[in-house]
C-alpha cells in the first residue's frame, strides 16, 4: 500500500500541499480531479520523488516504510511510475535506449527487450519509426502520451500515476490508450493506477474505484465513480 500521512509540500519556497492524507490500496483505480493549480501535479511529483518538491511535514509510506528520503530512482525501482503532464522531448535518446538502460540485462536481454517494445508499440498503435527516433521530439500529443503508457507497460510498476494522460490527445489515440489500460487492469489486477484528470471522458471508460477532489492544496471530497460524473455536470464546488 502507498500512503500519504499528513504531508505538506513546498516548492519554490511556497507551500503548495497542506496536510494531505491518502491511502492508495493495491489493485484499485483512483482518479484525482481538481482545477488547475489545485496541487494535483505537485502531489504526483512528490510521490515520485522530484527533489524540487520539499516535504516539510508528514511522510510517504510504501508498504509501511517511509520513502521520504528515497530518490526518484529508488522509488522507480520500488515500483512507482509517473507519466508527467507534459512528457519532455529528449534529443538524441530513443525510448529503446532509455528502457535498455532502465532495465537489467539479465531479466531483459536486449533482443527480447526490443521485441517487447515493438510488440507493445504495435498494441498502442505507435508507428515503428518513433521507437528509434529522439524520444518525443516532434511527436504529437497523442504519440507522447502513448510513449508514456508504453514505458509504464514495460517497466511494469506496481503504482502507475498518469498525470493528464488524456490531455492533448486526439479521440482515436485516447480510445487506444483507454483500451490498452483496461487490458493492463484486467491482466494485472494487483496494480494500482492513479489518474489525474480534468475530465470524466476517460474515467467513464475505466473501472474507477475512488474519486478524490483537490482544491488549493487540500483534499475536499472523496467518493465513488459517480462523483466524477457529478463534477462534470456541476463543476467543482
Amino acid at each position: 500500500m502507498l500512503s500519504l500521512k499528513n504531508i505538506s509540500v513546498k516548492a519554490e519556497n511556497k507551500e503548495i500541499l497542506h496536510d494531505i492524507s491518502l491511502d492508495f490500496d493495491n489493485g484499485k483505480i483512483y482518479a484525482i480531479m481538481g482545477k488547475n493549480g489545485s496541487g494535483k501535479s505537485t502531489l504526483a511529483r512528490t510521490i515520485m520523488g522530484d527533489p524540487r518538491m520539499i516535504i516539510t511535514h508528514g511522510s510517504i509510506m510504501l508498504d509501511e516504510l517511509s520513502i521520504n528520503d528515497h530518490t526518484a530512482y529508488d522509488r522507480a525501482k520500488k515500483g512507482i511510475f509517473l507519466s508527467p503532464q507534459s512528457p519532455l522531448a529528449i534529443h538524441g535518446v530513443t525510448v529503446q535506449q532509455l528502457l535498455r538502460t532502465a532495465l537489467p540485462r539479465d531479466t531483459h536481454p536486449s533482443k527480447k527487450l526490443l521485441e517487447i517494445i515493438a510488440h507493445t508499440a504495435q498494441e498502442l498503435e505507435i508507428s515503428k519509426d518513433l521507437l528509434s527516433r529522439s524520444l518525443n521530439e516532434n511527436f504529437s500529443g497523442g504519440e507522447r502520451k502513448k510513449m508514456e503508457v508504453l514505458q509504464a507497460a514495460i517497466l511494469d510498476p506496481r503504482y502507475i500515476i498518469l498525470d493528464e494522460i488524456d490531455t492533448g490527445v486526439d479521440i482515436d489515440s485516447l480510445k487506444t490508450i483507454t483500451q490498452f489500460l483496461n487490458t493492463i487492469i484486467n491482466n494485472a489486477p494487483q496494480k494500482t493506477i492513479i489518474f489525474i484528470t480534468h475530465y470524466n471522458r476517460i474515467l467513464s471508460q475505466l473501472p474507477v474505484d475512488e474519486v478524490i477532489i483537490m482544491r488549493d492544496g487540500t483534499i475536499t471530497q472523496k467518493g465513488d465513480a459517480t462523483l466524477a460524473q457529478k463534477i462534470e455536470f456541476d463543476g467543482y464546488k
Binding site: 511529483r45 515520485m48 520523488g49 522530484d50 527533489p51 524540487r52 530518490t71 526518484a72 530512482y73 522509488r75 522507480a76 525501482k77 511510475f81 509517473l82 508527467p84 512528457p87 519532455l88 529528449i90 534529443h91 538524441g92 535518446v93 530513443t94 529503446q96 535506449q97 532509455l98 528502457l99 535498455r100 538502460t101 532502465a102 532495465l103 540485462r105 536486449s110 526490443l114 528509434s132 529522439s134 514505458q151 517497466l155
Partner: protein, 468 residues
C-alpha cells in the same frame, strides 16, 4: 538506428589504465639537444636531408615562444622528457610475434578483436614506433599504401618529399617545430586514383612509458576520385608525472577525393595533447574531421581544412568532455580559398566538476572564394556551477557573396530531464550519461558503432566519477 548500450565493461572501471613494465631496445637520454636529435636520426638510418630537416626544426623550436594564449603550458618540463624510445627490434605482421607486454596491451584495449571484425587495416604504435601493421591483401593489390612514416621515408621517398611538412611547416608553431625535430612513427597512407576503401583503416597509439613524449607524424594522400576513412585511437596509463603528445597530421584530398579522419582521444590526464592537424581539399574534394576528446590533462587542437579547389567541402564534427582538472581547448579552422566551397562545423562540449572547455574557431573566406558557405554550430553543456565553457569564434570574410552563419548555445544540467530519467529507473549517473549522450548524438551517429559503444562506456565512467 538502434544502438546497443554496452555495459560489459562498466565494473572494470579504468579499462585503459594499466601499466606494463617498460620495454626498450633503444632510447635517448632524457631531455633534448642536438645530440639527441642526431641519435634519433641515426637510430633510423635516415638520409641527410631528413636529419638536416630535424636540426633546422630544432632551431625553430628553440626560437619559437610558447603560445601566449590558451591553457597554461608552463609545467611542461622539456628537459625531463624522453623523446625517443624504441620498444621492439622490428615491426611485426602478427600480434603473436610481439613481446608479451605489448601484445597484452593491445589485447586488453581490444585492437586485434576490432581488426578481425571490421577494419581494413591496423597500425599499432607503442611509444615511439609502430610495432604492428597489417592491411587486407586486396587493398595491397589495388595499390593502397599503408605503412608507418619511418618505413615510408625509405620506400616512398619521392612522394614524401613532395608532401611532407608542406601543409604544416616547422615554423607553424612551437609544437609543430618540436614534432618536426624529433618525430617518430605515425601513419603514411596513399590511396590510388579511383580506389574506395570501404572499411576503415585504424592506427592505435599507446604511451606506456613515464615522462615520455610521443611525436608521431601522419600523412594521408587520397588521390583523385578515391575515398578513405582513417581512425586513430589513443590511450595511456595515468602517471603523476606529465607526458607530452605532440603529433602532426597532414592530409591531401585531391580532386573528387573524400577523406574522413576520426579521432577517439582518451589519453590519461597527465598528458599534454598538443596536436597540429591540417588538410587540403582540392576541387570537389571532401575532408571530414570527426574528433572526440575525452582524455588528456590539456588539449590544444584545431584541425583545419584548406578549401583550395572549387566546390571543396570541409566538415568538422567534434566533442569534448572536460572533467575535473582537464582543459580541453579545441576548435576548427576552415579556410575558403576557392569559389563554391563549403564548410560545416559542429562542436559540442560538456564540462563537469570544474572542467574547462574552450572552442576556438576560425572561418576565413578569401576574396576568390565567391559564393562560399560556412555554418558553425557550437553547443556547450555545463553540468555544474564550477565548470567552464568558452567560445571564441573568429570570422574573416573578404567577399560579399559568402554565406556565413554561427549559432551557439549553452545549457546547464536540465533538472526536468534528470528527474524524468531517474523516475524511469536510471541511477543519477546513468541519467547524466544519457543526457550527455543525447547531447552529442550528432557525433555518435558519425562514428562506427563499435566506437560509439565505447564512447558511451567512457562517458558513463566519467559520470560515475562525478557522482562518486
Amino acid at each position: 538506428m538502434t544502438r546497443p548500450v554496452s555495459k560489459t565493461n562498466l565494473d572494470s572501471d579504468q579499462k585503459h589504465d594499466f601499466v606494463m613494465s617498460e620495454v626498450s631496445v633503444q632510447k635517448t637520454k632524457r631531455g633534448i639537444d642536438e645530440a639527441v636529435i642526431r641519435s634519433i636520426s641515426d637510430y633510423k638510418n635516415e638520409e641527410s636531408w631528413m636529419r638536416d630537416f630535424r636540426l633546422k626544426s630544432f632551431a625553430i623550436f628553440n626560437e619559437k615562444k610558447m603560445p601566449t594564449w590558451g591553457p597554461d603550458l608552463s609545467h611542461i618540463d622539456f628537459d625531463n622528457i624522453t623523446y625517443f624510445l624504441r620498444a621492439t627490434e622490428k615491426q611485426e605482421k602478427s600480434w603473436d610475434d610481439l613481446p608479451d607486454e605489448i601484445k597484452e596491451t593491445y589485447d586488453r584495449i581490444g585492437v586485434p578483436e576490432h581488426e578481425k571484425k571490421w577494419l581494413a587495416g591496423v597500425s599499432a604504435q607503442y611509444e615511439s614506433e609502430v610495432v604492428y601493421e597489417s592491411m587486407h591483401k586486396d587493398l595491397v593489390k589495388q595499390g593502397v599504401i599503408f605503412c608507418d612514416m619511418d618505413t615510408a621515408m625509405r620506400t616512398h621517398t619521392e612522394i614524401i618529399k613532395k608532401y611532407f611538412a608542406k601543409l604544416i611547416p616547422p615554423t607553424d608553431n612551437k609544437f609543430a617545430a618540436l614534432n618536426s625535430a624529433v618525430w617518430s612513427g605515425g601513419s603514411f597512407i596513399y590511396v590510388p586514383k579511383g580506389v574506395h576503401i570501404k572499411m576503415p583503416l585504424q592506427a592505435y597509439f599507446r604511451i606506456n612509458a613515464e615522462r615520455f613524449g610521443q611525436f608521431e607524424r601522419t600523412l594521408i594522400i587520397a588521390d583523385e576520385d578515391s575515398s578513405i576513412h582513417y581512425i586513430e585511437g589513443c590511450t595511456a596509463p595515468a602517471y603523476s608525472t606529465e607526458s607530452l603528445h605532440a603529433a602532426v597530421v597532414e592530409i591531401y584530398a585531391l580532386k573528387n577525393a573524400k577523406v574522413r579522419y576520426t579521432t577517439i582521444q582518451n589519453w590519461s590526464t597527465n598528458i599534454y595533447n598538443l596536436v597540429t592537424k591540417r588538410a587540403k581539399a582540392e576541387e570537389n574534394a571532401t575532408v571530414e574531421w570527426i574528433d572526440c576528446n575525452i582524455g588528456s590533462g590539456v588539449t590544444m587542437k584545431y584541425p583545419a581544412v584548406l578549401l583550395s579547389g572549387k566546390n571543396a567541402r570541409g566538415i568538422m564534427i567534434s566533442m569534448a568532455l572536460a572533467n575535473k582538472g582537464q582543459i580541453l581547448d579545441t576548435g576548427a579552422k576552415m579556410i575558403h580559398l576557392a569559389k563554391h566551397t563549403s564548410s560545416h562545423i559542429i562542436s559540442k562540449s560538456i564540462s563537469l566538476n570544474g572542467g574547462v572547455s574552450h572552442y576556438r574557431g576560425l572561418v576565413t573566406i578569401s576574396k576568390d572564394a565567391k559564393h562560399a558557405k560556412s555554418f558553425t554550430q557550437c553547443d556547450a553543456m555545463l553540468l555544474d556551477n564550477e565548470s567552464q565553457s568558452n567560445t571564441y569564434p573568429t570570422m574573416d570574410i573578404k567577399n560579399n557573396t559568402a554565406q556565413v552563419s554561427h549559432e551557439a548555445s549553452i545549457e546547464s544540467l536540465d533538472h526536468d530531464k534528470l528527474f524524468y530519467f531517474m523516475s524511469r529507473g536510471l541511477t543519477e549517473s546513468h541519467a547524466r550519461s544519457m543526457m550527455v549522450n543525447g547531447f552529442i548524438d550528432e557525433i555518435t551517429k558519425e562514428i562506427p558503432l563499435e566506437y560509439s559503444v565505447e564512447l558511451y562506456r567512457l562517458i558513463n565512467m566519467e559520470m560515475d566519477k562525478s557522482i562518486g
